[in-house]
């Protein structure tokens, strides 16, 4: 008797349901909350896959920092009401159809591959541990790690450029 499949199914259903709710919620704040719930479900999957580090980061960074930022912006803009006017019904339908078709196509294309016999290692395996990841990150992956700093630098500069208020004086100088 293995409990893993049950956890898997539970988390999956939760993730899907929350995602659907996120997309369909009219109130942005609800959307954020449903998204956070999705993230939790995904984190649960990570734990199931024994990717502890990622599970933690996902909660802290995504569900914690990023989603709070979203929430913050929504609050700032006072968008926490169901103000969003609805898109053209047809466009919505087509959009949903297109997304559905994509899913269908991908699933149909991939379902009968040899992938069927493959298993993902659940519950065990050391590669998700901080120790292993950290060692890799600072040896083989040090170059991308360093370079991602550039990404942050540019994002920082960018946010500063965008965020600064343009005044006539600054323009003149």
């Amino acid at each position: 008797m293995n409990i893993t499949p049950y956890i898997f199914w539970f988390l999956s259903v939760m993730a899907l349901f929350s995602a659907l709710m996120m997309v369909t919620s009219r109130n942005p704040v609800y959307s954020v909350l449903w998204l956070i719930s999705t993230f939790f479900a995904i984190s649960g999957h990570y734990i199931l896959l024994n990717a502890q580090f990622l599970a933690a980061v996902n909660i802290i960074v995504y569900a914690g920092a990023i989603m709070v930022l979203f929430l913050f912006v929504i609050m700032l803009m006072n968008l926490n009401r169901e103000t969003e006017p609805q898109k053209n019904r047809w466009l919505k339908l087509i959009g949903a159809l297109a997304g559905g078709c994509l899913l269908l196509v991908m699933v149909a294309a991939l379902k009968d591959a040899e992938l069927r016999s493959q298993q993902a290692m659940v519950g065990t395996g050391s590669i998700g541990l901080i120790k292993v990841l950290g060692k890799e990150l600072f040896t083989r992956y040090v170059v991308p790690f360093e370079i991602s700093s550039l990404l942050f630098l540019s994002a920082m500069v960018g946010a500063a450029v965008i965020g600064k208020k343009e005044t006539p004086e600054t323009l003149k100088s």
């Binding site: 990622l54 990023i66 949903a96 997304g99 994509l102 493959q118 590669i127 942050f152």
Partner: protein
């Protein structure tokens, strides 16, 4: 777990995110949908990493680390993107007091 399950789950999440992008008008929610898509990718990456790990356990126990590290980098990038993206949305909001992308139609044809 069969890898197919993970594959279809994340494809489903990915598609849900995509449908959100296609159907919503609020820029922030669209952005959130994109984040959902990224998370679907992350999940699949982790699953694949575990799959390869399982497959090659005997040859090289380190196989599969790449996938998880990639997820880490995706998160990094996502964070950077969020900072810039939200800044842009706020700037937009400052100018037009709306984040409805349907009003973004000065540029066309």
């Amino acid at each position: 777990m069969p890898i197919n399950y993970y594959l279809f789950l994340s494809l489903a999440l990915f598609s849900i995110g995509m449908v959100g992008v296609l159907t919503r008008r609020n820029a922030i929610i669209i952005f959130m949908c994109i984040e959902l898509m990224l998370n679907a990718v992350n999940l699949l990456l982790v699953a694949f990493s575990k799959m390869h790990h399982l497959k090659n356990l005997a040859i090289n126990p380190m196989i599969g680390v790449d996938g998880q590290l990639f997820v880490f980098f995706i998160m990094v990038v996502a964070a950077a993107e969020v900072s810039v993206g939200l800044a842009i949305i706020v700037m937009m909001y400052r100018n037009v007091h709306s984040v409805d992308i349907q009003f973004l139609n000065r540029l066309k044809h």
